[in-house]
């Protein structure tokens, strides 16, 4: 793993690691944004779960008890939504579904069985990641809207009790879908080795990009010959 495979002048978008040219996948600002969303999500999800099922009410101690959980949860949700807006605006363009994405999804068995060679070439994000993106966008929007309907302190007074009941159950369902989506998202990062460092260190190895996001890799390489043309 130590043999240099790129010489210094070829890196283009790569980081300045002397032994191997790495490809920058997320810059510091994107990583910060992502992890701020993570922190807000974790706190909002755990405090929400505390109110969802009695068996999980102990989680309310995380934020200092039941009343504090009730007070803070909506602000945490709102914070997560706003932070995610920034993140989404950064990655939305790369998450547009392409024709080959549908083919990728049809071959879900090859995806699950690690037979990536059979799949169509993937751009910056694969179809699974794109679905995660849309699920999070959809769930967070629904959570925000239904959350406003049941936010007792500020806004629930404007809505009828029937709407509050509907909003309560939709809020729970959206949160459930979101949490399951995030479990899949976290597992995918553990499953596909070399992914976590993209979000912690910001870089991936060329081999990782070649294997998992070949179309993106080719795009980087074409820009690498003209380093200033990379969009980010």
């Amino acid at each position: 793993m130590s043999a240099p495979q790129f010489n210094e002048g070829d890196r283009g978008a790569a980081a300045a690691a002397p032994r191997r040219a790495l490809i920058v996948r997320y810059n510091a600002s994107e990583r910060t944004n992502h992890w701020l969303v993570v922190i807000a999500f974790m706190l909002a999800a755990l405090s929400g779960l505390a109110l969802f099922h009695p068996a999980l009410f102990f989680l309310s101690n995380l934020l200092g008890g039941g009343p504090w959980t009730r007070i803070l949860h909506p602000y945490l949700g709102l914070t997560m939504f706003l932070l995610f807006l920034f993140l989404a605006s950064r990655v939305a363009r790369d998450n547009r579904m392409q024709p080959q994405d549908w083919q990728w999804l049809r071959q879900y068995r090859d995806v699950i069985e690690n037979r990536e060679g059979r799949l169509p070439e993937v751009g910056r994000y694969n179809a699974g990641q794109k679905l995660v993106f849309y699920a999070v966008v959809g769930c967070l929007t629904l959570l925000l809207l239904t959350g406003l309907v049941i936010w007792r302190v500020y806004s629930s007074g404007y809505f009828s009790v029937g709407l509050m009941r509907l909003a309560s159950v939709l809020h729970a369902i959206a949160a459930l879908v979101l949490i399951c989506t995030i479990i899949v998202h976290i597992y995918a990062a553990i499953w596909v080795k070399g992914s976590v460092r993209a979000m912690t260190r910001g870089t991936v190895t060329p081999g990782w990009a070649w294997k998992h996001h070949r179309a993106w890799f080719r795009e980087i390489m074409s820009h690498a010959t003209n380093p200033r043309s990379r969009p980010d």
């Binding site: 099922h53 009410f57 009790v161 459930l176 499953w191 990782w208 890799f217 080719r218």
Partner: protein, 307 residues
């Protein structure tokens, strides 16, 4: 208002049973009977409630009718609602109903409450809020089919009629009953109240109120506050008393199957990931991939440099 002298049989956000070893009280627990046909709207019950519970609501505004305050609040646990109804004969009927918690046998507030022990049901049928455990989320408001609980703007806790659980615990009748000058309010065992109501209804029928009847709605498995109505076939005449109150199916879904199903779904998702890793294993990048990437990079540099 926690009271050790009353046995708790049901407790909010608690999945195991409360102590059940003692026999259920005789006579089906306690009940308040509100005979709307005897009520003169004097509001003595409202005043007695304020006095006993040390409640002083803010002075409101006159809305052009006798109803005062205009609505229930965290500081007004009972309220005479005045409905002016024109009957088919063209006469005016002034239907006055003392509104407040109905103390349902199947309480929607208790079902919806996420905080363990914030809402309890005593063996005698009283549904009580323990404000020290209340987190102020307002789910009880969402769960109630009668629109009773109110969240205080002062302390963000939920309040409603306690059926004077503190008085009942020591063998007294609720304060409102004590104050009623016409006997429109009576208190006793549920069975006694049903019997008393039956006599009243018979009397009303003999005097031309053919639809007189008892309001003890089965949709919430009966209530421990019951009404004698002259028009039991049209409870909505009495300031929108619901015809068939029951816990909303939406609340049942949310607080019923959604809870275990939701937890199971999340656990299943996490387990699916774990066992995928155990069975299929990680997707790793190897030296071959790095070499292929290097070759592709070299090829993309190509012989000619793009501008």
């Amino acid at each position: 208002m926690a009271l050790q002298s009353l046995d708790i049989v049901r407790r909010s956000a608690t999945t195991t049973r409360s102590p059940q070893i003692r026999q259920a009280p005789a006579g089906g627990g306690v009940a308040k009977l509100i005979d709307t046909t005897k009520c003169i709207g004097c509001k003595a019950c409202q005043v007695a409630c304020m006095e006993w519970n040390d409640l002083r609501d803010e002075i409101g505004t006159n809305t052009g009718q006798y109803q005062n305050p205009h609505d229930l609040s965290a500081s007004s646990w009972t309220l005479m609602r005045f409905a002016e109804v024109e009957n088919p004969k063209g006469d005016l009927e002034w239907l006055i109903r003392k509104d407040g918690c109905m103390h349902c046998a199947d309480p929607g507030c208790l079902k919806a409450c996420p905080s363990p022990g914030a809402i309890v049901q005593y063996a005698n049928g009283i549904v009580d809020f323990h404000e020290e455990n209340c987190i102020g989320c307002g789910y009880c408001v969402t769960g109630c089919p009668f629109d009773i609980p109110r969240i205080s703007k002062k302390d963000h806790k939920a309040y409603k009629c306690t059926l004077c659980s503190d008085r009942v615990a020591v063998g007294l009748e609720p304060a409102c009953i004590k104050a009623c000058p016409t006997g429109a309010l009576v208190f006793g065992t549920k069975e006694d109240m049903q019997q008393h109501a039956a006599e009243r209804i018979e009397d009303l029928k003999s005097r031309g109120f053919e639809h007189a009847g008892l309001y003890d709605p089965a949709g919430v498995q009966g209530t421990h506050v019951m009404y004698v109505l002259h028009h039991a076939d049209q409870p909505q005449l009495y300031s929108d008393l619901p015809q068939d109150p029951h816990i909303s199916p939406t609340v049942r879904l949310w607080k019923g199957v959604a809870k275990p199903l939701g937890i199971a779904l999340m656990a299943f998702t996490a387990l699916a990931g774990f066992f995928h890793y155990i069975r299929v294993g990680p997707d790793e990048t190897d030296e071959g991939d790095e070499a292929a990437a290097a070759a592709a990079a070299a090829a993309s540099r190509g012989p000619e440099k793009t501008p």
